[in-house]
Assembly symmetry: C2
Homo-oligomer: 343 residues x 2
DNA sequence: TTGTATGCGTTATCAG
DNA sequence: CTGATAACGCATACAA
C-alpha cells in the first residue's frame, strides 16, 4: 500500500512557501468550492457556473494572485499556445524586424514566442528544431531556413512557414515572401537606364534559394538588355557586412566599377565602407544597389538604392498562414508586393 | 466506480496517429520495459540501468524519434528550463544584439528563451509579465524595464535581472550595465577639449534611470568645466530615431550648434539626418555624440562619437547573475567597463 | 536492477 | 449547477 494513501484533498497541504505561485487547488480551497468549479469559473464558456460561485472564485483568485499554470494546461489540452521563431542571422535588422512584428501579433493572441538563432548553420538549426519539437510548439516560423537533417521530419510533423527564403528540398512548406527573381529583374532593368559604365555583382550564397533567384534575375536581365557583365565582375559572399567588404576589396583591387548590385543590404554596407576607404564617393562615383530595405536605411544609408521588402506584411501574412495550418487546412503561403527604392 | 477502471497500462493504446509525437510509454512498449526504465535510461545519473536495457531503450527511442515532452517534464520536475527576455524597444539594435547573444548562451545550456517586447509601455510590459509568470519561467531578463504595476510582485516572486537600466522603485534587483553617469562625465570631458563652440544636448526620458544619469553626467561636468549650456540648448526626446530628428529640428530651428550630445545612438541618427537636410556636414560642421555604440556604427555611422557599451559582456554577465540567483543565492549584478569611441 | 504507483496543475467527462 | 475523477507525459520514492 502506498505510503500516502489519503486523498490529496484530505492531505493537509502546508501553506505554500511565498515563492510558489498559487495553484487551482489553493483557489478552490479559499473559495470553498471544487477545483472543477474554479476551472469553469475562470474559463468562460466551458460550463455553467452560478454567478455567486464565479464571484467567490474570482475574488479568491485575485487574492492569491492566481495565474493558471501554463504547463498543466498545455499537458491537458495538448495546446501549448507557443510558437517558435527560427532566425538565421542576427546581423540583419530586417530579420529582427520581422521577429518583433510577429512577436507583437502573437502576444496579442495571448500566445508566446520562443526564439532561436541558427546562424545559417545546419547543426545549430537542428538543435533548435529538436528543442522546439520537444516543447510541442504549435508552429515554427523560419526567417531564412537552411538545409538540415531534421528539417524534413520537422516540417512533416509540425506546422511550418518559411519566410523570405524557400528550401527547395521541402517544396510544400508554405512560403511568405516576394518574387525575388522578378524583383531583381525589374530593379536591374530600371536602374540600368541610369547607369553608364561598368557593373559588378556581389551575390549571396547559392545554397540560399533567395540569393540564387536574385542573382539569376540580375544576370538574365543583363544578358537580355545586352549589358555585358564579365565573369570577374561577379563575386560571391555570404550575407554578412564583412563579406561584402571583402568582396569589394577583391572587386576594386584590380579594376573599377560604376555600380555594384548586392545580394542584400548588408553586403552593400560592406561595399560602401570599402568604397569610402578607397576615396570613392557614393553615389557620385559609385552607385550601390541593395536588397531588403533595412529600416535604418532611411536614416543612415540614404545613398542606397534597394528593393523594399514589406517586412510588416511578412509578419501578418506568416501568422495568417500559420493560423490556417493550425485549423488543419493546407495553406498556400503568400507572395507579397515589393517596391523599388531608387536614389 | 469510474468507467475506465483498468490500469492505463492494460488499456490497449491505439497506434498513435502519425502527427502525434511518441511518448515515453510508446518507447517503453517498443523496448519491452517499464516507463521508469525508459526514464532512467534516457536521463543518465538518475538511477541504475543495465547496459542491455539502456541499449534497447535508446534504440526504441531513436526508432520512434522520441523526444521527451517538455511539459510533462517541467510539470513533474518544477523546472521549466525556460527564460523570458523582455525587450523595451525593437528599434535599438543594441538591445537586439543582447537578446541574440543571450539566446545563444541559453541555447547552449539546453534551455529556451521566450521573447517579449514592451515597447516602453507599462500596460504592455504587464501583459508580458503575466504571460511569463504563467509559464513558470526560470527567470526574466529585462533589457530596459519600465515602471509598471506587476513589476514589483514579479521581481519579488521570480528571478529577475535588469540589463542596461535600473528601475528605482525596485532597487534590490541585480543590475548589469555600465556606470552611465561616470561614462557621461568622462565622455563629455574628453570630447569637450576638442569642441570649440556651442553645445546642445538631446536627452532621453527622465523616467529612465539610465537616461537621467547620462543627462546628469553631462550637465554636471559641463558646469564643473565652466562650459555654459543654456536651457534652450537642452531638449528631451524618447529614445527613438524619429524623436531625435524632431529634437534637432527644434534645436536648429532658431540657432546653430557645433556639437550635440545625445542620450543614445538612435537619437544621434535622427539628429544626423536633420543636419544633413540643413546642409550641415557631420562631423565637419557639427560633431555628434551618441551613447551605446550600435554595432552598425562601424559601417554606416563612422562620423559618430559614442560610448561603447559591451553588449556581449552584458549577455554573459546577465546569465551568470541569473545562474547565481537560480542557486538560491543573492546576486549583486555587475558594473562593466565601457570605452570611449571618439572621431 | 526493474517495475509500480503517485503526483505535478490542468481540463473534460460524467454522475449527482 | 456542482463535485469527483481520469488523463495528459514525465520523474521519482519505494517495493520487489
Amino acid at each position: 500500500m502506498p505510503k500516502n494513501a489519503g486523498s490529496k484533498h484530505n492531505t493537509p497541504v502546508a501553506e505554500r512557501s511565498a515563492g510558489q505561485p498559487a495553484s487551482i487547488r489553493d483557489v478552490a480551497r479559499l473559495a470553498g468550492v471544487s477545483i472543477s468549479s474554479v476551472s469553469r469559473a475562470l474559463n468562460p464558456g466551458t460550463g455553467k457556473v452560478s454567478a455567486a460561485t464565479r464571484l467567490r472564485v474570482v475574488r479568491a483568485a485575485e487574492e492569491l494572485r492566481y495565474s493558471p499554470n501554463h504547463f498543466g494546461r498545455a499537458l491537458r489540452s495538448q495546446n501549448t499556445n507557443t510558437y517558435a521563431f527560427v532566425l538565421s542571422s542576427i546581423q540583419n535588422n530586417l530579420y529582427s524586424a520581422v521577429a518583433w512584428e510577429l512577436e507583437r501579433r502573437i502576444s496579442e493572441m495571448g500566445a508566446g514566442m520562443l526564439i532561436y538563432t541558427s546562424n545559417e548553420d545546419s547543426a545549430t538549426q537542428d538543435r533548435c528544431l529538436e528543442d522546439a519539437v520537444s516543447r510541442q510548439v504549435a508552429g515554427l516560423f523560419f526567417m531564412c531556413a537552411v538545409e538540415s537533417d531534421l528539417l524534413k521530419p520537422t516540417v512533416e510533423r509540425g506546422n511550418c512557414v518559411f519566410i523570405n527564403r524557400r528550401v527547395t528540398s521541402v517544396p510544400d512548406v508554405p512560403f511568405v515572401g516576394i518574387d525575388d527573381e522578378a524583383a531583381a529583374r525589374e530593379f536591374f532593368a530600371t536602374a540600368a537606364r541610369r547607369i553608364d559604365g561598368r557593373i559588378a555583382i556581389v551575390h549571396g550564397p547559392q545554397s540560399s534559394d533567395t540569393s540564387a533567384k536574385r542573382l539569376r534575375g540580375f544576370l538574365d536581365i543583363a544578358r537580355e538588355l545586352g549589358c555585358d557583365i564579365p565573369e570577374d565582375a561577379v563575386v560571391g559572399s555570404d550575407l554578412s557586412i564583412e563579406s561584402g567588404y571583402t568582396a569589394a576589396s577583391k572587386l576594386f583591387g584590380s579594376q573599377s566599377f560604376d555600380a555594384v548590385f548586392c545580394g542584400n543590404d548588408q553586403i552593400a554596407y560592406g561595399v560602401y565602407r570599402r568604397c569610402r576607404e578607397l576615396g570613392l564617393q557614393v553615389p557620385n562615383d559609385v552607385s550601390l544597389f541593395g536588397f531588403d530595405d533595412n529600416p535604418l536605411n532611411e536614416w543612415l544609408a540614404p545613398w542606397l538604392s534597394t528593393v523594399r521588402v514589406p517586412y510588416a506584411a511578412f509578419a501578418a501574412a506568416s501568422l495568417d498562414t500559420m493560423k490556417t495550418l493550425n485549423q488543419g487546412k493546407s495553406a498556400p503561403g503568400r507572395i507579397l508586393p515589393y517596391d523599388l527604392v531608387l536614389k
